[in-house]
Symmetry: C4
Amino acid sequence: MEENITNNARKRFHEIIYEADTFAGKLFDLILIFLILISIAAVMLESVVSIQARYGTALEITEWVITIFFTLEYLGRIIAVKRPLKYILSVQGILDLLATLPAYIDLIFPGLHFLVSIRAVRLLRIFRILKLGQFVGASNQLTDALKKSRMKIIVFLFSVVVLCIILGTVMYIIEGAESGFTSIPVAVYWTIVTLTTVGFGDITPQTPFGQFVSMVIMILGYGIIAVPTGLVTAEFMSKKGEADTNTQVCPNCSADHHRDDALFCYHCGHGLER
Amino acid sequence: MEENITNNARKRFHEIIYEADTFAGKLFDLILIFLILISIAAVMLESVVSIQARYGTALEITEWVITIFFTLEYLGRIIAVKRPLKYILSVQGILDLLATLPAYIDLIFPGLHFLVSIRAVRLLRIFRILKLGQFVGASNQLTDALKKSRMKIIVFLFSVVVLCIILGTVMYIIEGAESGFTSIPVAVYWTIVTLTTVGFGDITPQTPFGQFVSMVIMILGYGIIAVPTGLVTAEFMSKKGEADTNTQVCPNCSADHHRDDALFCYHCGHGLER
Amino acid sequence: MEENITNNARKRFHEIIYEADTFAGKLFDLILIFLILISIAAVMLESVVSIQARYGTALEITEWVITIFFTLEYLGRIIAVKRPLKYILSVQGILDLLATLPAYIDLIFPGLHFLVSIRAVRLLRIFRILKLGQFVGASNQLTDALKKSRMKIIVFLFSVVVLCIILGTVMYIIEGAESGFTSIPVAVYWTIVTLTTVGFGDITPQTPFGQFVSMVIMILGYGIIAVPTGLVTAEFMSKKGEADTNTQVCPNCSADHHRDDALFCYHCGHGLER
Amino acid sequence: MEENITNNARKRFHEIIYEADTFAGKLFDLILIFLILISIAAVMLESVVSIQARYGTALEITEWVITIFFTLEYLGRIIAVKRPLKYILSVQGILDLLATLPAYIDLIFPGLHFLVSIRAVRLLRIFRILKLGQFVGASNQLTDALKKSRMKIIVFLFSVVVLCIILGTVMYIIEGAESGFTSIPVAVYWTIVTLTTVGFGDITPQTPFGQFVSMVIMILGYGIIAVPTGLVTAEFMSKKGEADTNTQVCPNCSADHHRDDALFCYHCGHGLER
């Protein structure tokens, strides 16, 4: 019977830590997000020299308190779940561990505690709390469409990089070190800055011919941005289209492309087998 | 009978102020837009030191005359409408109030009268006058498509911000204060400037490794701009796609959204009248 | 009979000047484009101080020779066409006149002869020569899609301008003249530079709060670029869809959405009336 | 029989060099890519002054070793293939030759050996090795869609260039040499930098009117970027849309591209077999 109580306690504990449907679960998640926001703000402010001078100790204490809380939460999650190893090796488990580690690492290798900002990834769980279903659906659709067009995007971006290496070399030969194109890596960096239409302006072509090639690069960058956009859009669209009609064929008149929820053929009125 | 006259006067008043179909109504709206344009121009020019020195008094008088006109118009709208409270609390009512307030606020808190430029929002009513129907239709379609893809856009932009916090911290660790990355907030600001392909160039990476990470950020920003575009395009298209199904309702079971070429109800198999 | 000869001569003349299907017509158009290119190059090079010093006279002579040729061509077009007034008042007629005028204007108002570059518009006729049909088709599709989504784009761009006026005023209040935001017009200019992701970097926010608002503007600009893209894409797509099937209904079985070149119903095999 | 052995050897040789399905073929391609990467890295690092001073000789030796390997590979390909001339004149053959030439050219014309970075093009063959089919499919789809919308993109980009020539001249007249618009070619360069939203910031408008025209150019560039995107997206989509018609051929009149749900030929009315 004692075991039963422990089981119930663990169940309740699991509910609070892992789920966001009950009041306690929601509250827990809200506190978590609040602490993440505070710890990120603390890390950011700590890097501002004037604030560090005045409030340094307070910020450090805040960070440690939150780190200890996160450590306890991480241990709690391992206890609350039935298969601890599965959780530890899951994406979420690794992210949770990464959120606790940086402060400890800083004790051994000082200067790396800014990695605490990895915690920001955990902020994405905010969508779990606010109107759960809709946001989860939206982000699933996003990741699905990206996953599907992944290979085309990789081929495209890789081709862009190859193009930038060649054009960068050309610009290095044309402009040379006087205009700031001190080496090929720098020239390739400049080409990527230009082709992606970022355009810092720290390095700019000075010779007429260099400016001409720059114009070609810019027009090119302006034109080929259409490619990834077209890819992802096409994928989004095809997802939509598929959801609406299916490949079912009417057994009587062979009409197809029925609505997903159709019970009868839209053409001959014969019943459809589901 | 006197009441009747008042009623007629109010009706006519309502027509002039609220509608844009009659000549008087159109004229009223045109004068309003002309005054808004002048008052915005006045506020803008007032902020230019050389113009302020010469024409300061004239500009101030213009502003006050227009403000008084707007105040009278606001009061007129409250009188002309049947349910004043509904108008006051509507989006348009609040915008109309905001358009009159700044000048008065300036009497109490000097220096804030530049908020007069909030009046610019009222310029959007220009679409009400010029070929009413078409523009209203166009802007309705725009806001509809944006509303529908709202949640996906929020998820996307939030993920971008989280990504920028992490990449910004990495850049801060790599570059440090010598290159202008004086603190993490500044580094995050730089990352957003770079990822959105704005690229001011006030801060630029100086170390080879920093430039390498910048290239990755730029390629990333160039690639993921496809996502919001794909989202909104898909929403625009699906609006169009709805045209393929029609608004016919089955006379037997009341199911709707039938295919355009449907002869029988997809839900109950009853014949559809064409 | 003499009239007949004149008529034939005029017909031949018309063929050469207006059409690009015969050899003489093509040659004439090619010479024209070649001269336009040379005159544009001449105007451009003339503006480069070092070249002007050395080759100034030669460039000026070139320009005058071409201008006289264009004047003769313009007069020729008026003579060759049956309804001269219609040509003079057409878009092409006005462009042709504009291409001849600048050099003459320069005699009266010196310093304006750089307007010769208006001639560049005539370069677009290059598409008439190279594989006529395909390019004309492509550019027709382009202008059609733009015309259809014109009103939505106007509403969108106007809203962007209004947004920039308001955000620009806010930035002016936050940053002030020390950071380069010397007046509201300048601040609005900066906001447009930032929202459209151009990002010159001549003016940049210096205060932390100004940088925060900048981030919001940039994220906004990165997000809403999706809107015009979505609009135009949707219009392109709907054009495609329409071109392929039509609204014809089979007189026998009432099936619709037939291919444009269909002679028989795809569903019952009954002949379609064309 | 000896000939038979030579034939077998050549077949095996062909398999290794040209194909990526067998283990030996994959290994060969992997070594090739590894060498290309090293040689590109070597060329890039050589251009960095500090590295060149220290490791110059080592980098030069590396480059020559790889060049000799590439030369042998090129000769090997000519021997292994049945129609050497066809390979030599194919796109791949020319690229392979270009990958070996630069180092030799450098012996005759020193200073041009940076053209070795043309080798980067060969990196694209990486897609042949990793999950062959999928990447080839993806890149075929990409190039197909680009090929189809090629003419529209050319018309669009050409129109953009014409627009930039005219707007650049206007900016030159407005701003003049004091603001950095020293000549029309420079002003056109600035206009392209601005319209494509690159925005280096090395040249910026200083006069109020110049800034106003800049705003128009920026808003324009922000708006018309929608056009190439719309074009490519529509092409991607229509590729997908083709799935709605199928490759069935009418047994009577050989018409194809029937609707997926067609029962009778749209051209001759003959029944289609399903």
